[in-house]
Symmetry: C2
Subunit: 463 residues, 2 copies
């Protein structure tokens, strides 16, 4: 019964597939809605094109649309997020950036996969339901914004200002990431976040003095050199395999469960493909499981650079009086920002004391720390995602995380409240090249993901 | 007897002192012989002004003058080196840079102490001998060059090309450094040199790939990060007190002798003055002896910077595929460049192996390594310097070294041969500010050093 009705939607999607490409995606790609230089005109066009029932709150940043216009109280309600702004064209295109071009089943054009393709996939699914005359089984609130790529206007401000809007949903779904591979659909349930730090070693000025770079011929061997001490301090952060050496940090990390290990063993991830992506032999782990666990569910530390010393390739000889190392820790459940900060500061202060230096050492947090994000993959949102994937692809989706952060996820989670579920449901593949030249979406994904999104509503309604 | 004749020269110097300032130094300071933009006209003027018996070999670089024109074979022969080019004016002058101005016994002007003042001091001593009608007791070969400050034309090339010129001397004397303090004359007998290294950690490219900066959100925790390994490697070079941790390096250093320690204990060096000069509390040692020994007679290591990572003060998050650390070792007797290089490379290669990384580590020497320089302070050159100092200042000179290198010393030593003596005989004080604004020479030094140089010839002749 269920299947039959959903099949009508699927059949309509197949029938409309060229229409979706020609009249929808091709037109959207043709609009140069580059995030950093969006014009009012461009924005308005996208608004009109993208949404039927538009209730513009604050043009052009966020478009909100309800379907039906008045929610049906008997149905569950889903918030859908996407963005219509894109990256600039950039260099290196072999196809036109602003004209959708299909070659060998790949639809090339800026925004095809990030994120006009997914935005239109939601709208196309809705169109298919309507044209198939099948009742949409959930109340939809579509939320499409236009400043995601530039980050100039933070969506979080909007979400916090309009918290009332975000309280009325049973779940949210975001299509703004990618499959882990080129072969298998996935549902994404976790993100790492970043805690960024600086450590500054400086010579302690005498009253009325400002220490300046010293001539190494005259002074070295006789003064505590900040750069020598900075590399000592930075060397205490991690070993060559990326293991964090800060006591207590690893104790904040949730234990791995047997279920989780089993999950990782199922994931389709090819190590040769990984090595080819990084372009070097630098992979630490031999297996997909270890690599993915260290990408997603363990914290990591990276040293990004040193400010205040000489970065040139030249033979210079000064002793610099103040140098700052920059490093960051990617955090995972349940490492809270404050606890991480406290451990980092305490450890580095203790280690610096051991040096017995007359210099000063200051450790500071750089910017805000936002928390990691992780969803409960057993809830009805993910159950619907799994069922939909199984229906469309006849396979179990990989359950993935991302190694980095996607700010909007936390913005929406915070607005929704932490008892509501969010699922990341990617439409494109790992090789779509979102921000680069020849960004593409596969025609196969273009069609199947429309079915998947439509099926997701169906299974969520009937959970 | 000796004293009486020398006294005639001293009396003449006193009589001529205003002439030396007005007609010699003031005119020389007025010539803007900035090393980097010396004009032919400017050079020619200096040439004519500076030397009586000029035999121009390769205008304008090096002026050679003999006195007498034909050496007297019964006299010993001394080579005198100085340079007539100066640093650019730069910012911050409170007195005119190109007009000699006397205030409170200080003669301000570019070149007053570096090195026109000393060049003219030699010529003035000669003038005083002549006007006092006292026979100059040595054959003089004056060698004044015009490219010292720019380093564009290396004096060493000249010295090597004209080795025949440099074989005819019993000793050489260079006036191009400064007293250790503002109070006490010194003779300088040693220089440290520099061995400069780079250490590069890089991800090993797969065939046909060029590793690029990786997005830390996606890749960190899963790849060997060159920056993490570079700080580990650099941290193994020295401890916070500047002690070199490279095995074998300290074994190359000559043992300290009891005589040497006694020498250091005599030296007039004020630690408060030192702290004030560095402008901070970064001094490692509490005593002058320890500070000076680590400046002069022990090697030291400095890390100058890292190339290839992000030197900005911004919050960036990339993993860089190739980073290079720059460091140098100041060498002292009897650390030979090749032995130092071999120890550094072997140690770092062994330490890198311990990391078990898939990355590569390459240690290279950067530029040429020139050796340290040290003179025998018991020879007749230094004996004459001591006697002259005692005669003019009624004190024993401090025997000093410099922590850095003065290239021309080695150039001349190599041309002369290592059996000939070179002494560095500074004319100015530690606070003369050679390359900065308000460069000055004290009037007292201006007069007494003329006597000292004249006396040095006298005692060298009569050793």
């Amino acid at each position: 019964m269920l299947s039959d009705t959903l099949d009508q939607v699927f059949t309509k999607i197949d029938q409309l597939s060229q229409h979706f490409i020609t009249d929808r995606l091709a037109k959207a790609v043709g609009i140069q809605s580059v995030s950093s230089d969006l014009t009012t005109e461009g924005r308005t066009k996208v608004d009109q094109e993208a949404a039927g029932h538009t209730a513009v709150l604050k043009l052009p940043d966020v478009i909100l649309a309800n379907h039906p216009a008045t929610p049906d109280l008997k149905k569950r309600t889903v918030l859908i997020y996407g963005h219509y702004d894109v990256q600039p064209e950039g260099d290196g295109w072999t196809h036109p950036a602003w004209e959708l071009t299909e070659v060998n089943g790949k639809l090339y054009g800026r925004g095809s996969t990030d994120d006009k393709g997914p935005v239109l996939a939601w709208l196309s699914a809705l169109e298919a339901y309507q044209k198939a005359e099948v009742d949409v089984p959930v109340n939809l609130r579509l939320c499409f914004e236009g400043m995601e790529e530039s980050g100039l206007v933070r969506f979080s401000e909007f979400a916090q200002e309009h918290k009332d809007i975000f309280t009325k949903f049973d779940a949210a779904c975001i299509s703004d990431n990618y499959w882990l591979t080129t072969r298998k659909p996935c549902l994404t349930y976790g993100l790492r976040d970043i805690n960024y730090f600086t450590i500054t070693i400086a010579q302690k000025p005498l009253p009325g003095h400002e220490p300046v770079p010293l001539h190494s011929g005259i002074y070295r061997g006789t003064v505590h050199e900040p750069m020598t001490e900075l590399v000592i301090m930075l060397s205490k952060l991690a070993d060559s395999n990326g293991n964090i050496l800060i006591p207590g940090i690893n104790g904040l990390v949730d234990d791995v469960t047997p279920d989780e290990i089993a999950q990782y063993e199922d994931i389709d991830f090819d190590m040769d493909e990984f090595r080819s992506t990084i372009g070097s032999e630098a992979a630490i782990y031999a297996t997909a499981k270890d690599t993915l666990m260290h990408r997603w569910r363990y914290p990591s530390i990276t040293i990004h650079g040193i400010n205040g010393a000489d970065p040139s390739p030249n033979q210079t000889t000064a002793i610099y009086p103040k140098v700052t190392g920059k490093f960051s820790i990617r955090t995972v459940p349940t490492m809270e920002g404050k606890a991480v900060m406290a451990l980092v500061v305490h450890y580095l202060e203790q280690e610096f004391k051991k040096l017995g230096s007359t210099n000063t050492c200051e450790v500071k947090q750089f910017g805000e720390s936002a928390p990691y994000w992780v969803a409960n993959t057993e809830d009805s949102d993910f159950a619907a995602g799994r069922a939909a994937t199984n229906r469309v692809y006849n396979t179990k989706p990989d359950l993935t995380r991302e190694g980095g952060s996607i700010g909007v996820t936390l913005d929406i989670q915070n607005a929704l409240g932490h008892d509501k579920s969010i699922m990341l449901l990617p439409v494109g593949r790992s090789d779509d090249g979102a921000h680069g030249p020849d960004e593409k979406l596969d025609r196969d994904n273009h069609i199947k993901e429309r079915k998947l999104l439509g099926a997701y509503w169906w299974y969520f309604a009937n959970a």
